[in-house]
């Protein structure tokens, strides 16, 4: 089945130690998103790629970076995790053609713990 896969599902890192979360998709969607979700709150968009074009949200901290080496993969890098970065990180994809709004498909998420 076509899907959005996130690895790992659970990640523990130390304060200040860089960490990378990965997302892959078999949907061949051209847009990929990274969201941060804390304690069953609304997902907060960090950034998204429209094809190869990177779009950062204005309030996303510089500590968060992303890479999309090809259509299928996207990575979230947290350069120096703080305790406040502990959250669920959700990857999503969508197919965007012009301005037609297709729904986003979400992965299961990676729960990040910072010790």
């Amino acid at each position: 089945d076509a899907m959005v896969i996130q690895n790992p599902r659970y990640q523990v890192t130390q304060f200040g130690k860089p960490v990378t979360l990965s997302c892959s998709q078999t949907l061949n969607h051209n847009v990929m998103y990274w969201y941060q979700q804390k304690s069953s709150q609304a997902p907060k968009l960090l950034f998204h790629y429209y094809d190869k074009d990177f779009n950062n949200e204005a309030d996303t901290p510089d500590n968060f970076q992303s890479r999309r080496p090809n259509t299928s993969f996207c990575f979230l890098d947290i350069r120096s995790p703080g305790l406040g970065d502990a959250a669920m990180y959700l990857c999503a994809t969508s197919r965007e053609v012009g301005k037609v709004p297709y729904e986003q498909y979400f992965g299961p998420g990676t729960r990040l713990t910072v010790t």
Binding site: V4, Q6, V31, S40, Q41, A42, P43, L45, H48, Y50, N55, E57, M88, L90, A92, E96, K99, P101, E103, Q104, Y105, F106, G107, P108, G109, R111
Partner: protein, 113 residues
């Protein structure tokens, strides 16, 4: 700017009864509206969307939602609730010039047996 309000943090309903989860929105122009459901420790699952056309939208698992432009609302409904419907529900909006979704704060639905 676009925004969504889900006025109820928690909705409880008895199994077999109809359920409603409320959502109101604010955008400039005509909106695109979505409902998603999230089960514990899982990603969001798409339920339904309103783009244009018929104000009553039918989606997955027997859910439907009614777009009301004059009240700027998009309430989620189901005629007969199941215990398995218990989950966190998010309404989301985007305007016709944006690519980003804005999510509401979520409503925890509990269906009591």
């Amino acid at each position: 700017a676009q925004s969504v309000a889900q006025p109820e943090d928690q909705v409880n309903v008895a199994e077999g009864n109809p359920l409603t989860v409320k959502c109101t929105y604010s955008v400039s122009g005509n909106p695109y509206l979505f409902w998603y459901v999230q089960y514990p420790n899982r990603g969001l699952q798409f339920l339904l969307k309103y783009i244009t056309g018929d104000n009553l939208v039918k989606g997955s698992y027997g859910f439907e939602a009614e777009f009301n432009k004059s009240q700027t609302s998009f309430h989620l409904k189901k005629p007969s609730a199941l215990v398995s419907d218990s989950a966190l529900y998010f309404c989301a909006v985007r305007d016709r010039t944006a690519r980003q979704l804005t999510f509401g704060s979520g409503t925890q639905l509990t269906v009591l047996p």
